[in-house]
Amino acid sequence: MTALLPRRGLAQVLALIVILAVDRIVSPQFFDLRLQDGRLFGSLIDVLNRGTPVALLTLGMVLVIATRGIDLSVGAVMAISGAIAAGLADSHGLPIVLAAALGAGLVCGLWNGFLVAVLGMQPIVATLILMVAGRGIAQLITEGRIVTFSSPDLVWLGNGSVLGLPVPVVIALGMLILTAAVVRGSALGLLIEATGGNARASELAGVGTRAMILSVYVWCSVCAALAGVIAAADIMGADANNAGLWLELDAILAVVIGGTSLFGGRFSLVLAVLGALIIQTMNTGILLSGYPPEFNLLVKAVVVLAVLLLQSPKLSGLAGIAMRLRRTKA
């Protein structure tokens, strides 16, 4: 199995490389990078930057999915936290703004976790409730308007740069490292995988499965809240109507492309984030290609299918046989 893991990652890396290559074909300047105002500039940076919200969402989503759950409410949570951040940005300092926005995410996560872990609702409907109501709450905060702000601190969060990299990318990277450190550094990762693999057995082995489930929903919402703040900072305004709309599907897609099963168990944070990058690379490629927008969805469908087929256990089984044949010949 240890030998299998890198091969699993290989499929994602391969997919990314192929899509990058296609992007290079449709847009010759795809790999061009230049420094401007102390900040790197180019399509590759766009991919990273635009991929940030979904990448942040996947960090939480992958844990939720590892416990056999799903969280449809992340888009709505993004809208809520963005609205709160925008509302407070011009009157309060950044720490307070962040605390309020992430705090809202925490509350949302507790609510989802409560419904799933304590009331025992099926995750998809439990989080559907917040998906519907949450956007309403966000619109309630903004009253349906796009609330703009000019607080330079918050704007920096969306548009600033550190060492040439856009701040959102740095934040996402930091969150990835933080999540990985917490999950793999403590016993959390093992206990989450156990819970997702077989909740009954884990419970009997003394794992606090409820606490595990509650905590992943909380983390998922906090990540979503952070993504919401970044999305708002990016456009210097909170668009409660559209922020994070349908992004839950992208996040789930990224997790699955990252090789985590929707039936829970084994998960990989890095591959999930890679999945988010694959999706964004494809999206950016579509924008650069200059095809009429009517084709966007078709292209997306074809690419998604191709990426999935690439990692299909059946196909990798075939690849395995081919490899074995080669080895026996050698």
Partner: protein
């Protein structure tokens, strides 16, 4: 039963079958022959490749090499459905039936009685009832199968296969969760089928049963064929040597220190403990260094008792004490915190986490006990896993293998290792030797004794009375979800236990052998 030399081709003929899973060579050039009307035992240690051979024959796994002939005709079923079509009916080892469907649907799935494209529900239930009646079972066949105990589920699976068997019936450890009475019934039916010319393959780790029922024996070891013998001409010790490839270390069945149990310290005690509608209130004392056996018929409440003791189920009556201190056992976590361990009987649904590695399965309970913030380092985990893989002889000895890919018996060992790793003060074992080969069986019983000597308290459930008698210091007998009798010392023997199980209500008693 049928001995005449047979010029016609054998019913089922397997030649040169090989099968690998990645680097694991599960079968290498195995031959196997089944004649019409014979009961053929397929034996071997855990992980020897018995189940794999069966799955290759029925097309569940594609084979790497070899041929299969039925009555001289080569067949290559590519799915269980195709195998059924070729006349081979099988009860697989682990995967039984579908708990969400009714018993009747399970029995007749994909072959329901139909009229105008509609399933004749009434007819189907009637037939299901009749079918199960042959096995001495009278249950509501319209209820979901999952409502019933493992034993009943297993009987249902057997009944289905028996009803389906056209030419060949394969039973992979069918008796693992049955008690004597059900086993008798099954054997009766097997003999009837054999008389009708059906060939039966029978996998079991109970050698008594093998000698009782089988005509011939084929032994596998490490995926290779060791040999095929007539049962009557193969002494037991030779058989064991064939299976293990070595002599069986003598198990000391002598119970050394039965008498002094009164002097031992109480580890945990339960007074008036019970739960309405679950188990009647009982008193139970578990002492350090002592094995308490729970005996009873299927559904008598043994598992329920075990779950209450461990904390997997909340009691609504009575008081539990650990080392004399009153405690509340509200959840498995409480049990674990107080140093209890519990190996459940349904290892697949309640025990293993199939996707995770042997290592992770072993350290799980220990890690849960230590809590989130004191993670076992990878080195510690490796160390623990290696220790128990060696100690319990888990095969293949690869701690990184997903536990779901291990053979049934080895999964059981992993579960045992999980709890041993927590150094518990009380270990509750529900059918610990189910599906375990002779070698490992002796090993586990030795282990149980050893653990006792180290001061561990044990509560063991087993349907094998011989086994219970071998290691128990006291035996609690259950009937109708109530503790009815406690035997100790000299009183512990199979006869007494049977008598206690059967006492009064002769109608419900499954009497011992006549």
């Amino acid at each position: 039963m049928e001995n005449s030399p047979d010029p016609a081709p054998p019913l089922l003929e397997v030649r040169g079958i090989s099968k690998s899973f990645g680097a694991v060579r599960a079968l290498q050039e195995v031959d196997f022959t089944l004649r019409a009307g014979e009961i053929h035992a397929l034996l071997g240690e855990n992980g020897a490749g018995k189940s794999t051979l069966i799955k290759v024959i029925t097309g569940v796994f594609p084979r790497d090499a070899g041929i299969v002939r039925i009555s001289g005709e080569e067949v290559a079923p590519r799915s269980a459905k195709a195998a059924l079509g070729a006349g081979i009916a099988t009860v697989y080892q682990e995967v039984n039936l579908l708990p969400n469907l009714s018993v009747a649907q399970n029995l007749f799935l994909d072959r329901q009685p139909m009229r105008f494209g509609i399933v004749r529900e009434g007819e189907m239930r009637r037939r299901a009832k009749a079918l199960l009646a042959d096995f001495g079972l009278d249950i509501d066949v319209a209820a979901p199968l999952g409502n019933y105990s493992v034993a009943i589920q297993h009987v249902t699976a057997i009944a289905r296969a028996v009803d389906l068997s056209a030419r060949v019936l394969i039973l992979d450890e069918p008796t693992a969760s049955l008690d004597r009475h059900e086993v008798e019934i099954l054997f009766g039916i097997m003999r009837q089928l054999a008389q009708r010319g059906i060939g039966i393959v029978f996998v079991s780790h109970f050698l008594d049963q093998v000698y009782e029922i089988s005509d011939r024996i084929t032994v596998l070891r490490n995926g290779r064929l060791v040999g095929e013998r007539e049962t009557v001409s193969l002494p037991r010790l030779d058989l064991i040597r064939m299976m293990l490839g070595r002599e069986l270390a003598e198990t000391t069945s002598a119970r050394a220190s039965v008498t002094e149990h009164k002097a031992r310290e109480i580890c945990a005690s339960f007074e008036g403990y019970g739960k309405a509608g679950y188990v009647a209130p009982f008193n139970l004392e578990l002492r350090h260094g002592e094995v308490v056996g729970l005996a009873g018929l299927l559904g008598s409440g043994r598992t329920e008792t075990a779950r209450l003791v461990f904390g997997a189920e909340r009691a609504d009556l009575g008081q539990a004490k650990v080392e004399g201190v009153p405690v509340r056992l509200q959840s498995p976590r409480d049990g674990v915190r107080h140093g209890f361990g519990y190996c459940p009987e349904e290892r697949k649904t309640d025990g293993i986490i199939a996707e995770l590695s042997v290592r992770e399965n072993i350290v799980l309970a220990l890690q849960a006990k230590r809590g989130l913030y004191r993670p076992l380092s990878r080195r510690e985990q490796d160390e623990i896993a290696r220790r128990y893989v060696k100690m319990l002889d888990i095969r293949p000895p690869d701690p990184e293998r997903p536990v779901g890919l291990l053979s049934g018996g080895n999964q059981q060992k992993v579960l045992l290792a999980r709890w041993l790793a927590t150094s518990p003060r009380l270990l509750v074992l529900d059918e610990p030797t189910r599906g375990i080969d002779v070698g490992a069986h002796a090993e586990i019983i030795r282990l149980i004794r050893e653990l006792c000597d180290e001061g561990l308290a044990l509560l063991v459930i087993s349907s094998e009375l011989d086994e219970i008698v071998t290691y128990s210091d006291r035996v609690v007998v259950l009937r109708d979800r109530a503790h009815v009798e406690e035997l100790a010392g000299e009183a512990i023997d199979v006869g007494h236990i049977l008598a206690a199980i059967a006492a009064d209500g002769a109608a419900t008693a499954h009497e011992g052998r006549a």
